[in-house]
Each structure stands twice: as structure tokens, then as C-alpha cells.
Point group: C2
Chain length 264, copies 2
């Protein structure tokens, strides 16, 4: 048995999800805290590598004892797990749901869809309450520019070679991904939000998409040009890699029903 846990984290003070020597990572913190909670070493496996500063609203990870053991290693009932976990976790990570999964489950390889949100604050003054939680684009994005961004984003949908939207130097050999849905809208807090879901993402893909959409907002790129940028398969055709702190991993989908326990 593995324990699947859905978490929310503020990525500001982490070097990313993955453990790195001498740096504070989400994986490192969770491995230590859950090890203390259970009283024996555990291995924490994530659904995605995230960069330093990147946030999560629904990051899925699995916990299992590091040493081989039988199925009943978790003394805490799954229905009470989040409440117990939240007493042990640091203030920038919260457990929001938990479920029991079979041993063969892997939070990354079992995932069939991920959804990211990229948040942009387009007011001249950046509120201290938004700093580090959205990218600051100093010019106001008009309703028509927002509509252009939405039209441009829609052109990402479908199965494409996304080499133009992959960080240079990536070791990925197959740059083909299927984007299922996109949206660009202003949320209730006034932030411009680009939402994208796909079967998987290349390194920096959402941030390069966001940077390219901001070129559309600025009128530097016509929304119809997105198709040409994709087809060029050249990183130089796309826009800048937008700042990490605008990015949120929102949701991970698995191809089976998960009996989530939500308690607190």
C-alpha cells in the first residue's frame, strides 16, 4: 500500500519539489516530517518536478516506507491522515486529501493529465499581497488583448511537437505532447490567469507559453502566429520564459476513481 496525498504549497521558499543537497526542497521537508510522524524512514515520490518559486494547489505525492514491509504500515487511518499531517508540516505546505493506493501506483507515471495555472498581475503597482504569487506585467491588459491571448492559447490545443516551448538543453527525446484545454481569463482577484491542461509538459513549457501570450498581449505577436511558432520547432520563435512564481500546478488526473479522504 502507498499513501497518496494531495498537497498545497507556497513554493517561495523551496528550491523546487525535488530534494537537492544543502537546499530546502518540498520533497526533503516531507521526507523528514513524515519520517518523524510515522517513526520510520519513508520515501516520498512526487507527480512532477517543479522549479524554485513554483506553487501548487493540488500537488499529488505518494508515501511508502523505505524498507520493505507489509501492507498495514500506516497506523493513522486515511480519514484522519491530513489532520495528523498538518500538525507535522511546515507552514508553507498543507495536506488537503489522502487516499490508499496499490503498490504499483506512481504519482508521476500513473498521471494521465496535469493542469497548470499561470497568474499575471497587470496593474502598475504590485500589491504586497500578490508579490511572489503572480508575475508582474506592468501594463494593463485590455479586454481585447485578453481575448487575443485566449484565442492564441486555443492554438496550443491538440497534439504538437512543442520544441519551441521547451527550455534549451532539455534531455527530453520526444517533444510531442497533447494539450487538452486552454483558457485565459481575469479571476475574481483581478489577476489574468492562463490555464492549460495536457498529457504532460516539457521543461518550462507553461512558462514559455505564458511569456509568448504576453507578447500577444503587447501586440508584438499576432494571435494567429502561434501555429507558426509551434511549427518552427525553434525555441527562439517563442517568447521569454515567464517568472516561476506566477506558476501553479493546479490538478493532476489519474485514470481511475480515487477515494479521497478530506478532513483537515
Amino acid at each position: 500500500m502507498k499513501l497518496l496525498v494531495k498537497t498545497v504549497f507556497d513554493g517561495s521558499n523551496f528550491c523546487g519539489f525535488q530534494a537537492q543537497p544543502g537546499r530546502r526542497s518540498v520533497q526533503g521537508e516531507l521526507t523528514e516530517r513524515f519520517g518523524e510522524l510515522f517513526g520510520f524512514p519513508v520515501t516520498v515520490t512526487g507527480c512532477s518536478r517543479t522549479d524554485s518559486g513554483v506553487h501548487a494547489l493540488g500537488y499529488c505525492l505518494a508515501i511508502a516506507p523505505t524498507a520493505p514491509c507489509d501492507g498495514s504500515w500506516c497506523a493513522i487511518p486515511t480519514s484522519k491522515f491530513c489532520a495528523a499531517a498538518n500538525t507535522a508540516l511546515p507552514s508553507d505546505i498543507a495536506a488537503v486529501a489522502a487516499a490508499e493506493m496499490p503498490d504499483e501506483f506512481h504519482p508521476r507515471y500513473s498521471a494521465v493529465k496535469k493542469e497548470y495555472i499561470y497568474k499575471i498581475c497587470d496593474s502598475p503597482v504590485l500589491s504586497p499581497f500578490v508579490r511572489g504569487r503572480a508575475m508582474h506585467f506592468k501594463r494593463r491588459i485590455s479586454d481585447s488583448a485578453l481575448l487575443n491571448m485566449k484565442k492564441a492559447a486555443a492554438l496550443f490545443e491538440g497534439t504538437h511537437d512543442f520544441t519551441s516551448f521547451m527550455a534549451k538543453g532539455s534531455k527530453i527525446t520526444d517533444p510531442v505532447r497533447t494539450v487538452y484545454s486552454t483558457d485565459v481569463k481575469r479571476d475574481s482577484d483581478g489577476l489574468v490567469c492562463f490555464t492549460v491542461s495536457a498529457d504532460g509538459f516539457l521543461y518550462n513549457m507553461v512558462r514559455i507559453m505564458a511569456g509568448t501570450l504576453l507578447r500577444v498581449a503587447s501586440g508584438k505577436v499576432d494571435c494567429g502566429e502561434i501555429t507558426e511558432i509551434i511549427n518552427s520547432r525553434r525555441r527562439e520563435s517563442a517568447g521569454e520564459t515567464a517568472a516561476p512564481y506566477g506558476l501553479y500546478l493546479n490538478e493532476v488526473t489519474y485514470p481511475f476513481d480515487i477515494r479521497w479522504n478530506v478532513d483537515g
Copy 2:
């Protein structure tokens, strides 16, 4: 001439507005930063003392040279002031609007109305993105409980002796205040928000009101009892003083039109 500046600040890392020796205050930071910006010592006067952890969405303060000078001391055009100020301010304070005011203006004594918002997160798990920015009330507040809070809050309206809602040991001699408006509703982020405006507030008044409304939410106090609590003029009758980090100074009103310059 005095310069009136409207600011937003995250109060988490301040001891409050007022300067205190050896502690980081909003007034202390602004006095230092604006002094550097202008190149001569300035005096910064606030519209209100706020406690450590209390936030502001529209805090008004006045800047004037500490030494006597003529009216044209500010070399920065008021229309460009916020942009200039924001390059000099720390990341947890932002200037959002500026206006020129006559010497006799005082941001505190000239104010005729202030509005505060008290934010409550009523989900079992506190999101890292809400921590320090709303009070955590671990039980879900139902729609009917929310309506009871709203009815209870409405009983604060009018001119009353608010001794029951004043921190013990306050030196204020006249505890009569006029509450102009109240509201309790769930905002777009899902937080329960208590909004109250008055001609002035006693020490901890909004936080004690919020603590009392949470007793109404819990069913410990009937909404009609608010009038009895006010009339008792005993601090013990009211609820706990709710945590400072749920409180936001939202708006200050002056009895004249202010020509605000908003630029960024």
C-alpha cells in the same frame, strides 16, 4: 504643503504602524526610505495606530519635511510620486495613490470615517496562501450561521458606548462611537469577511467585534444578544479578541474631495 499617500501593506513583519525602538515598524521604514528618496529628513504621520500583524489595503499617511521649509519641497511631481516611492519601498509596502494637501491636514484628525475588514478562513485546512492573512476558524460556517453573523453585526450600527468592545486598560475617556455600516459575507476567495465602518474605533474594537461574531457563528451567543452585550458596558460580555492578522484597514474617508494621483 503635505504629501498624502495611500498605501497597501502586509503587516506580518511589522510591529505595527507606529515607530518603536529596536523594532521594525511601517512608520520607521517609511521615515527612513522617504528621507533617502528626498535627501532630507521627513516626518511621516499615520491615520491610525495598527497592531503587529494587522494589514492595510488603503492606509493614509502624510509626509512633510521635518525642518520648516517653503511649500515647494517635493521635487517629484505628485503624478509620478507612487512610481518613485515604489522603487524605494520595501516589498511589503506599496504606494498606490498620492495627493497634495494643505499644511493643516492631518491623516488621523482630519479623517471622518474608517472602514475595516476582518477576514476569516473557515475551512479545516488552512492554505499556505491564506496563512497570516486571515484568522483560522476550523469549523465550516454554514449559510445560516453566516446570516446570523450578518444580523448580529447590524446591531453594532448606530451611536453606542462601545466599552464592551474595548481592550481593558485603554486610556480612552470617551468610548462612544458611531458605526455607520456593517456587513458579513463570503468573498470570492471563500473567506468570511466582516466589514465595519465608523467615525472612529476603540483599541481592539474590530477584533473584539469579530471574536463576538464568531461566538454567534458557533451558536454560543444569539444574534439578538449583541444589544445586551453593548448595553452591559463590560468587556467580559463580549467575545475573544480575534487574531490581528485577520484585520485589514480598508479605507479612510476625509470630508473633502481629494485629487488622488494614481500611477504606479
